[in-house]
Amino acid sequence: MKQPHLLINRYKWYEIIGIYAGILVFLTFVLAPFVEGFLVSLKPLSQLFSSPYRFIPENGSFEAYRTMWISVPGFARYIFNSFFISTVVTAVVLVLVIPASYAFARFEFRGAGLLLAAFLAVNMFSGAVLLIPLFRLMRSLGLLNTYFAIMVPGVAFLIPSAIWLLRTYMMRIPRELDEAAFVDGASQFYTLRRVILPIAMPGIMVVAITTFIGSYAQQFIFALTFNSKTEYAPLPVGLFAYFGRQEVVWNELMAASFVGIAPAMIVIFFLQRYLVSGLTAGAVKQ
């Protein structure tokens, strides 16, 4: 192994063991349910419920990963819907949130703190309670049973945390950059577009990723209530198609979950550096 140049990062053997043990414990906690889920996905349905507990399933196979496509024929469509909805939601959130965060980060105006708190308050109401009023709203907007039925409320509930994150990031961009552009005669929109936007890109990436995931995996209740058309249903709703009247097709459900989150995992894998460094910048309080 190559030794690091920084001696402070050079570990004694027992420290290395300690760290890896720590990581092992931590990742065990984080991943154990997935191991369980994966094992379930490998078991034939008849062997799902058998004791004593066996770690390596008997007759394990990847059969469920094949049959899942057959028993819920629309599954590919659900994944596509999730992707499509999340992409649009992310785009809309960014369009709304970037200017708003900039305003919060840069301008001092009366009520800024209150407004920011109000945004946070949106998160304090749980979706379940707001369901019926929201439904009425969606209906009067004529959005029921369209992609918009899922996207529109999704955007609204993802805006607050996105503003919160991006604002902290933008506060770290030196104010002189705006001022320099101002002195040079750039309009404020021009400054936002040509100066702030490109510099805030890492922060925007982080917000984009968190919004995307929030929308990809977590927005279940709206999708379910405001949309009745299978062809628009996103992944989480689609997964519930594996719930039958009498029982759940557990192995296929788990297989489908793994297949469903794979695209997002791949995205994360390639963006993880960006994610951590972007958060870093945003994390520092002024």
């Binding site: 030196p174 002189e176 950059l177 001022e179 320099a180 552009a181 101002f182 002195v183 040079d184 005669g185 750039a186 309009s187 021009y190 040509r194 100066v195 490109p198 510099i199 890109m201």
Partner: protein, 378 residues
């Protein structure tokens, strides 16, 4: 044209009065340096001229037009920020071209202008690089380039060199001075480094706690500081101060006593000084080893040998500040070995109990023929 008039300009932050009625006129083509300790309001004043900060009271007049309510771009100024404020995501070319892009200048003309500015600033080779790849001095020049292309009437600089190291700072000083002569534009330059002020300014404005302490040509401030504050701020190492007692006053000057020694300081006398405690000022470079009109025996504690000169620091009894002497070449002083420091009365400055100086009998025009018409040299 780039004339600037500050008429009783005031600035409050809440109840805190940062600038207390600044009155100043800057001529076209003049290089004016605002200097003063940290927090005295230099940046604030510059930003008010630029149009970045609002003015609480008073008028800012550029070329006869009151600009208080105009945005920066309409004031005909350009500003170079202490932090350079370069756009990290743009190439050097785009950074310099930014103001022109804002104006929507046509591509060919823009290119020509940017390249011209780059040539002046020796940046031709760097146009395609990002600011992150440049050294401090180069970044500085990019920031200046961005100001140049707009052809402003007035350049504003806020401590542009403070992020650079000593050698680079010296080089950039010279380049800026050359640039001033080349562009013949009005420049207003903020620094708290008195060497920069001395070397670049046609005229220095010394600010102290929101007020103008003195305005004048560099050597005027050096030789005839208006008060203790200016005297100690201008000159490096800074002036030594000794408490003296005024014993007599005559047309020839003021006679003072320091530890039993009497000396006649050639300054314009003032009534009622006799018997008071005054402050005698003498610059380190005016102290010589051996006797003088006043002689002090001091034991230097620290000796700095710069080769070209030697600086000796000593502690005087009862004084918090070091007593300092700059001696030519490799003077044969050694730490803790007492020596006699001689002071000539002609080199002395005298301040009253309020810190206001007595006018010295020095003819500035003898020292530098430019002094009384500084812009003629530019």
């Amino acid at each position: 044209m780039g004339q600037l008039l500050l008429n009783n300009v005031q600035k409050f932050y809440g109840d805190f009065e940062v600038l207390k009625g600044i009155q100043l006129e800057v001529k076209n083509g003049e290089f004016v340096v605002f200097v003063g300790p940290s927090g005295c309001g230099k940046s604030t004043l510059l930003r008010m001229i630029a149009g970045l900060d609002a003015t609480t009271a008073g008028d800012i007049v550029i070329d006869g037009l009151r600009v208080n309510d105009l945005p920066p771009v309409k004031r005909g100024i350009a500003m170079v920020f202490q932090s350079y404020a370069l756009y990290p995501h743009m190439s050097v070319f785009e950074n310099i071209a930014f103001p022109l892009r804002v104006e929507k200048m046509e591509e060919a003309k823009l290119k020509a202008k940017v390249e011209h500015a780059a040539r002046i600033l020796h940046l031709d080779q760097r146009l395609q690089q990002r600011p992150g790849m440049l050294s401090g001095g180069q970044r500085q020049r990019v920031a200046i380039g961005r100001a140049i292309v707009r052809e402003p009437k007035i350049f504003l600089f806020d401590e542009p060199l403070s992020n650079l190291d000593a050698a680079l700072r010296a080089d950039m000083r010279i380049e800026l001075a050359k640039l001033h002569r080349q562009l013949k534009a009005t420049m207003i330059y903020v620094t708290h480094d008195q060497i920069e002020a001395m070397t670049m300014a046609d005229r220095i404005v010394v600010l102290n706690a929101g007020e103008i302490a003195q305005t004048g040509a560099p050597l005027e401030l050096y030789h005839k500081p208006a008060n203790i504050f200016v005297a100690s701020f201008i000159g490096n190492p800074k002036m030594n101060f000794l408490p003296v007692t005024c014993t007599a006053v005559s047309d020839a000057g003021v006679e003072v006593a320091y530890e039993g020694q009497k000396a006649l300081i050639p300054v314009t006398p003032r009534q009622g000084a006799v018997g008071k405690t005054l402050t005698l000022g003498v610059r380190p470079e005016h102290i010589q080893i051996g006797s003088g009109d006043i002689a002090l025996t001091v034991a230097p504690t620290v000796i700095e040998r710069l080769g070209a000169q030697t600086v000796a620091y000593a502690s005087l009894d009862g004084e918090a500040e070091n007593f300092c002497a700059t001696l030519p070449g490799s003077a044969g002083v050694r730490p803790d070995q007492p020596l006699v420091a001689g002071i000539n009365v002609a080199d002395c400055h005298l301040f009253d109990d309020k810190g206001i100086s007595f006018e010295r009998h020095v003819e500035l025009t003898d020292i530098d023929m430019n002094l009384l018409n500084p812009t003629a040299a530019a």
